[in-house]
C-alpha cells in the first residue's frame, strides 16, 4: 500500500501548491516540500529491507483484458532512482523557493514539478510495462510544462516544444517496442519479462523490439543523434534544469536501459548500438561543451557527455561495467545537480551566465565558489572525489573492450572523452571562479546567496566528497543492491576504492588530466582555430524537418479533406452502399420475410405521399436555401408523425424538438449566407449524384423491408423489454436503455455533444476576429430591415409562455423514466422555451438578464452524469449501475426514485448548455453582420411608454 502511496503522493499533492500559494510563497514551498518529504520517508522506511535483497510488490487490476494493471515493485534499482528523484527533488524545491522571483507564478511551478516527480517515480516503480509507458508519456508532458514555464520567452516555448517532439516521438517508438516485447513473452509484467531473457533474445522480433525501445531511451536520455534537444531545454528556470538533467528526466532512458539490461543486453546488436551511441555521445558532448560560453550550455553538453558514458557502460554488457554505470549514475546525479544549482546561483547573483564575462568569483562568493569548484573537480575526475572513482572504473572497462576486434578504439576514444571532460570542468573552475573579474559592469554586485540557495548544493557536495573518500561505506550497499537488480544475478567481484594500484586506467586518468589542463591553457587558440569549422545547427535542422513534415501533412490533408461536403457525403454513401451490396451478395440465397403485411391506412398513405412530395420538392428547389431548409423541416415533422404512427412516442418527441431547434439555429446561419446556392453541378455530376442517392435509398429501403418483415428471435429488444422494469426501475424502455442499459454510450454521447458545442464556440470565436471579422464589418444588409425587431405581441406572448413551456420541460423530464420523455427531450423543450425569449427580445437583452455560463452548464452536465455513474462504486457495483427506491409522499402519492434521474439531469444540462452556446455564438456573428447594438428595451414599441409620454408633455 505504501508503495502505491509513494507514487500517488506527488500527484495528489500537486493540487496543494496551487492552493497554498494564496497563503504565501513560504507556505507554498513548505507544502510542496512536505509532500516530497513524506514520500521520501515512506521510501526510506523500505530502504533497509530492499538493500538486504527484499523486493516489495503491490498490484491492483485496472484493465486486465489488455494486460494493463497497476502494479508497482520496489527493488534496488527502483530504490536508487526513487531516492534520487525524491531526494534531489526535495533539495530542488527548497532551492527553487529562493531562486524564483516574485513575478514568477510559484504555485504553478510547484504543481508542475510535483506532477513531473510523480510521473518519474511512477516510471521507476512500475512493474507493468504498459503502466510504465503511461508514466513515460506523463514525464514528456509534464517536462514540457516545466521547460516552457517561462512562457513569455520564445526560447522557452521552442525548447519545450522541441523536447516534447523528440521525447514524445521516442516514446511512441518505445510503445511499439514494449508491445512487441510483451507479445514475445506473453506478459506485460516486468518481473515476468525479466525472467525470460533467452526467450526474448531468441525471438526474431528481438532486433525490432530492441531498436524501438532504444529509440525511446536514446531520445529521452539525449544520446547521439538525438542529443540536440537537451541544450535547448536549458531555457527553463535553473531548478528545472538541475532537476531534469541531473537526476530525473534524462536518467529515465538510462533507467530503462538498466531495467531491461538482463533481457536485452549481452548480444552483439546491443553492444554495437548502445556502446557505440554512448561512446560517440560522450566524446561529442564533451567536445562541444568546451566551446560553450553559456554556463548552462556547458553543463548541458557535459550532461549529454556523461549520459553517453553511462550508456556506453551499460552497452558493454558485462556485469562489472553495469556496476560502474550504476555507480556513475549516483555520482553524476550528485555533482551535476550541485553544479546546475551553482550555475543558477551565479546567474542569480551576477545577472549573467556568460563565462566570458565572469571570473574571480571565488573571492566574492566564497561559499558558492567552494561548492562549484569541488563539484566541478568531481566532474573532471580528480582524486579523491566520487567522479574519480566511477571514471576510473569506466576507463578500466574501456581498456578491456574490443570494438570490431580492435582493442584500441574504445580506450582511445574514452581517454579523449575524459580529456575533453577535464578541459570543460577546468574551464568551469578557472574561468569562472579563479583569476580576476573580467567584467566590472555586471548587472548585479555578486555576493553569496541566502542559505536556502546554497544549502542544497552544499549538501550534495558533502556527499560528493564523502562518497569519494569512503565509497564502500556510504554508497557500497546501495550500489550493491542496485547492481544486483540491474544484473539480475550474482554480483561480479569489485570493490569501490580510491586506490587500485598502478593500473592502465590510472595512466589514462593522468593523461586526461594533464592533456585536459593543457587544452584549457590553449583555450583561446582552440576557439579561434575551430571558429570557422562548420557546425550543424541542430535547431535549424529540427525546425526545417518539422516545417517539411507540416507541409507534407498539409498536402495530404488538403487533398483528402478539400472542404467539399458533397465529396465527403458521396464517399460516405458510396462506401456504405458498397458494404451493403457486398454483404448482400455474400449471402447465397435470399428469401422474403414471413411476417404478414399490414394494410395501408389512409393516414399512413397521406403521410407517405407528403413525404415523397416534400422530398422531391427539396431536390428540385434546393437552390433556394430558405425553401430547402423549410422543406427539410417539413420532412422532419412527417418523419416524427411516422414515429408516432409506429408507436415510438419518444422518438417522435425527440425528432420534433430537434427539428425546431435546428431550424431556428440554421435560420440564424442562413441570414448571413447568400440566398441562393450557386449552380455548380454539371449534368454528369447530377447523374452521378442521382445514381448514388437512388442506390442508397433503394438499399436502405430494402434493408428496412427485410428487417421489418421478419421476426428476430434473438433480438436484444426482448431482453430490454423484459428487464426494463426489474433492472432499471422504469417502464419506458427507451429511456431505461438510454440511461441504464446503454448508459455508458449516452455518457459518451453527451461528452461528444459538449465537445461539439465547444467546437462551435471555438470556430465562431475565431470568426469574430481577423479576416472574417473584417468581412462581417463590411457586410451590406440587402433587405429592408424591420424597425420593429422585437414586436410587442411576440414579446408578451413568449413571456406568458415561458413558465408554461418550462413546466412542460420539467414534466417531460420527471416522467421520462416511465412514460415517453426523459432528459434529452426535456433539455430540448427547455432550450426551445429559452430560445423563444431570445428570439423575442434579442439575444443580448435576454443574456443580460439571464446570466448563465453555458460552458459551465455543459461541464456540470457531464460531471453530474459522471458522479451519478460513479456513485454506483460506493455500493461496490460497476460504473453506471442504477438503483431505485419507491418513495411515498403525501398528496403526490407513491413514485419511484431512480438514480438514473441524476444521470438524466446530466443529459438535460448538457443539451441545454450545448444548444444555448450554439445560439449565443451564432447570434453574436449575426449582430456583427447586421451592425446592431444590444437593445436596451425588451420591445421596440412599448404601448405603455407611448401612452405615458403625452401625459408628461401635458
Amino acid at each position: 500500500m505504501s508503495l502505491t502511496l509513494i507514487v500517488l503522493l506527488p500527484f495528489i499533492g500537486a493540487v496543494l501548491p496551487a492552493i497554498m500559494i494564496r497563503a504565501g510563497r513560504n507556505a507554498c514551498a513548505t507544502a510542496t516540500g512536505s509532500i516530497t518529504l513524506l514520500a521520501l520517508i515512506l521510501l526510506m522506511a523500505k530502504a533497509p529491507a530492499v538493500i538486504s535483497g527484499e523486493v516489495f510488490q503491490v498490484s491492483y487490476s485496472w484493465l486486465p483484458e489488455l494486460g494493463l494493471n497497476v502494479t508497482f515493485f520496489l527493488d534496488g534499482l527502483g530504490l536508487l532512482f526513487a531516492t534520487l528523484i525524491l531526494g534531489i527533488g526535495l533539495l530542488i524545491i527548497i532551492y527553487a523557493r529562493f531562486y524564483l522571483s516574485k513575478d514568477d507564478p510559484m504555485g504553478r511551478f510547484y504543481a508542475f514539478l510535483l506532477l513531473f516527480q510523480g510521473a518519474m517515480v511512477g516510471i521507476v516503480l512500475s512493474d507493468n510495462i504498459l503502466l510504465l509507458l503511461v508514466f513515460w508519456e506523463l514525464t514528456s508532458l509534464s517536462s514540457f510544462l516545466l521547460i516552457g514555464y517561462w512562457k513569455h520567452l520564445p526560447e522557452g516555448r521552442q525548447g519545450a516544444r522541441m523536447a516534447l517532439a523528440v521525447t514524445g516521438a521516442g516514446g511512441l517508438a518505445m510503445i511499439a517496442g514494449m508491445l512487441i516485447l510483451g507479445d514475445i513473452v506473453g506478459s506485460y509484467d516486468l518481473t515476468v519479462i525479466l525472467q525470460n531473457a533467452d526467450l526474448i533474445q531468441a525471438s526474431p522480433m528481438y532486433v525490432p523490439a530492441l531498436v524501438l525501445i532504444l529509440l525511446g531511451c536514446f531520445t529521452k536520455s539525449a544520446q547521439f543523434p538525438f542529443h540536440f534537444w537537451l541544450p535547448h531545454a536549458m531555457a527553463a528556470p535553473t531548478p528545472v534544469s538541475a532537476y531534469l538533467h541531473s537526476a530525473t528526466m534524462v536518467k529515465a532512458g538510462i533507467f530503462l536501459m538498466a531495467r531491461m539490461w538482463p533481457v536485452l543486453s549481452g548480444t552483439p546488436e546491443w553492444f554495437y548500438i548502445v556502446a557505440t551511441a554512448g561512446l560517440v555521445t560522450m566524446v561529442l558532448g564533451a567536445w562541444i561543451a568546451i566551446f560553450k560560453h553559456d554556463l548552462k550550455g556547458l553543463l548541458a553538453y557535459s550532461t549529454v557527455s556523461h549520459l553517453g558514458l553511462i550508456t556506453m557502460l551499460l552497452g558493454f554488457g558485462t556485469p562489472i561495467a553495469a556496476v560502474a554505470g550504476v555507480f556513475h549514475i549516483i555520482n553524476h546525479a550528485t555533482f551535476k545537480a550541485a553544479l546546475f544549482m551553482t550555475a543558477g546561483i551565479i546567474d542569480h547573483e551576477t545577472g549573467t551566465r556568460d563565462i566570458r564575462r565572469l571570473g574571480g568569483l571565488l573571492n566574492l562568493m566564497p561559499i558558492a565558489g567552494t561548492i562549484g569548484i569541488i563539484s566541478a573537480a568531481s566532474m573532471a575526475g580528480i582524486i579523491p572525489l566520487n567522479g574519480f572513482l566511477s571514471k576510473e572504473m569506466m576507463l578500466e572497462e574501456a581498456w578491456h573492450t574490443m570494438w570490431l576486434d580492435q582493442g584500441w578504439v574504445v580506450p582511445l576514444l574514452a581517454t579523449v572523452g575524459a580529456i575533453f571532460s577535464v578541459a570543460y570542468s577546468f574551464r568551469f573552475i578557472f574561468h569562472v571562479w579563479m583569476g580576476k573579474p573580467r567584467d566590472e559592469n555586471l548587472p548585479h554586485h555578486p555576493h553569496d546567496p541566502p542559505f536556502g540557495m546554497w544549502g542544497p548544493p552544499a549538501l550534495l557536495t558533502v556527499l560528493v566528497v564523502l562518497i569519494g573518500l569512503f565509497p564502500a561505506v556510504i554508497a557500497g550497499p546501495l550500489v550493491a543492491a542496485t547492481s544486483s537488480a540491474v544484473i539480475g544475478g550474482e554480483l561480479p567481484e569489485y570493490h569501490l576504492a580510491l586506490w587500485h594500484g598502478l593500473t592502465p586506467a590510472l595512466g589514462m586518468s593522468v593523461i586526461a588530466i594533464v592533456v585536459g589542463a593543457l587544452l584549457l591553457m590553449r583555450h583561446g587558440a582552440l576557439i579561434s582555430a575551430t571558429a570557422n569549422l562548420s557546425r550543424p545547427d541542430a535547431k535549424a535542422m529540427f525546425d526545417c524537418a518539422i516545417a517539411k513534415l507540416v507541409a507534407l501533412s498539409r498536402v495530404i490533408s488538403d487533398n483528402l479533406h478539400n472542404g467539399s461536403l458533397q465529396r465527403y457525403l458521396s464517399v460516405m454513401i458510396v462506401a456504405s452502399v458498397a458494404i451493403g451490396v457486398s454483404g448482400f451478395y455474400a449471402e447465397p440465397d435470399h428469401t422474403a420475410g414471413t411476417r404478414e403485411l399490414l394494410d395501408v391506412s389512409p393516414a399512413a398513405a397521406i403521410g407517405w405521399v407528403l413525404l415523397v412530395v416534400t422530398s422531391i420538392a427539396a431536390v428540385v428547389m434546393h437552390h433556394n436555401r430558405l425553401l430547402s431548409l423549410l422543406l427539410v423541416g417539413v420532412i422532419g415533422l412527417i418523419v416524427s408523425l411516422g414515429f408516432i404512427y409506429l408507436s415510438a412516442p419518444d422518438l417522435a418527441l425527440t425528432q420534433i424538438s430537434v427539428e425546431v431547434v435546428t431550424v431556428i439555429l440554421m435560420l440564424l446561419a442562413l441570414n448571413i449566407l447568400p440566398k441562393e446556392t450557386p449552380k455548380e453541378s454539371l449534368p454528369g455530376r447530377k447523374l452521378r449524384d442521382g445514381v448514388v442517392s437512388i442506390a442508397a435509398g433503394l438499399g436502405i429501403g430494402g434493408a428496412i423491408w427485410a428487417i421489418m418483415t421478419r421476426d428476430l428471435p434473438n433480438s436484444i429488444s426482448a431482453y430490454h423489454l423484459a428487464n426494463s422494469k426489474i433492472e432499471g426501475g422504469g417502464t419506458n424502455v427507451v429511456n431505461v436503455i438510454l440511461v441504464d442499459f446503454r448508459g455508458f454510450d449516452t455518457f459518451g454521447e453527451i461528452i461528444v455533444l459538449g465537445i461539439a458545442a465547444l467546437s462551435i464556440f471555438a470556430l465562431i470565436e475565431t470568426v469574430t476576429q481577423g479576416e472574417a471579422a473584417k468581412r462581417l464589418a463590411n457586410w451590406v444588409v440587402s433587405n429592408r430591415r424591420s424597425a420593429d425587431r422585437h414586436p410587442m405581441m411576440m414579446v408578451v406572448a413568449t413571456r406568458v409562455m415561458l413558465p408554461l413551456s418550462l413546466m412542460v420541460g420539467v414534466y417531460i423530464f420527471l416522467r421520462g423514466h416511465n412514460e415517453p420523455g426523459g432528459g434529452f427531450i426535456a433539455g430540448l423543450v427547455v432550450s426551445v422555451a429559452l430560445v423563444m425569449q431570445y428570439m423575442a427580445s434579442g439575444f443580448g437583452w435576454t443574456q443580460n438578464r439571464m446570466k448563465v455560463n453555458y460552458h459551465g452548464m455543459i461541464g456540470l452536465g457531464v460531471i453530474a452524469a459522471a458522479i451519478t455513474g460513479a456513485s454506483a462504486w460506493v455500493a461496490g457495483l460497476p460504473f453506471l449501475t442504477s438503483g431505485f427506491v419507491h418513495v411515498h409522499l403525501p398528496i403526490v402519492g407513491e413514485f419511484e426514485l431512480a438514480s438514473a434521474m441524476g444521470f438524466d439531469l446530466g443529459v438535460f444540462l448538457t443539451v441545454v448548455g450545448a444548444v444555448m452556446l450554439a445560439l449565443a455564438k451564432l447570434s453574436q456573428v449575426e449582430r456583427m453582420a447586421e451592425h446592431i447594438d444590444v437593445n436596451l428595451d425588451p420591445m421596440d414599441h412599448d404601448p405603455s411608454v407611448r401612452i405615458a409620454t403625452p401625459e408628461k408633455e401635458a
Partner: protein
C-alpha cells in the same frame, strides 16, 4: 353514452371539420398574402377548437376521466397563431409596402411600428426605459 352528448360531440366534430375545410379552401382560393392570412384563422380557432372540445367531451363521458390536454393545446394555439400571423404580415409589409405612399399617418407620437423605430419628434423610447429602471 346518452344521445344528447353523442349529438353534441358529433356536431362539434362536424362544425370543426367544416371550418378546417373552409380554412384550407381559403388558402387555395385567396391569391394575395394579406387576404390569405384570414383563411387559416378559421381552421385554427373554431376548426381545431371544435375537434378538441369534442375529444375532451368524448373521453370525459365515454372513458370517465377528465383531461386538460385539449385545453392546453387550445391555449398554446391561441397564443401562437396570432403571433405567427402578425410576423408574416410584418414581413409582407416590409417587402411590399412603401410607408410613405401606401400608408396613412399613424396619428400617434410615433410612426407605424414596422417602419419607424422612433417617434416623429425624435422621441426615443429607450431613454424612457432607462429612467424607469433607475
Amino acid at each position: 353514452m346518452p344521445f344528447i352528448v353523442e349529438l353534441i360531440i358529433s356536431l362539434l366534430i362536424v362544425i370543426g371539420g367544416l371550418f378546417l375545410l373552409v380554412g384550407s379552401f381559403g388558402m387555395l382560393k385567396l391569391r394575395d398574402l394579406l387576404p390569405r392570412l384570414h383563411a387559416p384563422t378559421k381552421a385554427s380557432t373554431v376548426g381545431v377548437g371544435g375537434v378538441l372540445i369534442a375529444s375532451m367531451l368524448y373521453f370525459w363521458v365515454e372513458r370517465g376521466h377528465f383531461t386538460i390536454h385539449e385545453l392546453l393545446i387550445t391555449l398554446f394555439i391561441f397564443l401562437t397563431a396570432p403571433i405567427t400571423a402578425n410576423l408574416i404580415a410584418k414581413a409582407y409589409m416590409l417587402l411590399n409596402v412603401d410607408p410613405h405612399s401606401d400608408l396613412p399617418p399613424s396619428k400617434q407620437n410615433e410612426g407605424w411600428a414596422t417602419f419607424d423605430p422612433v417617434g416623429p419628434e425624435g422621441y426615443d423610447p429607450s431613454e424612457e426605459y432607462q429612467e424607469k429602471e433607475n
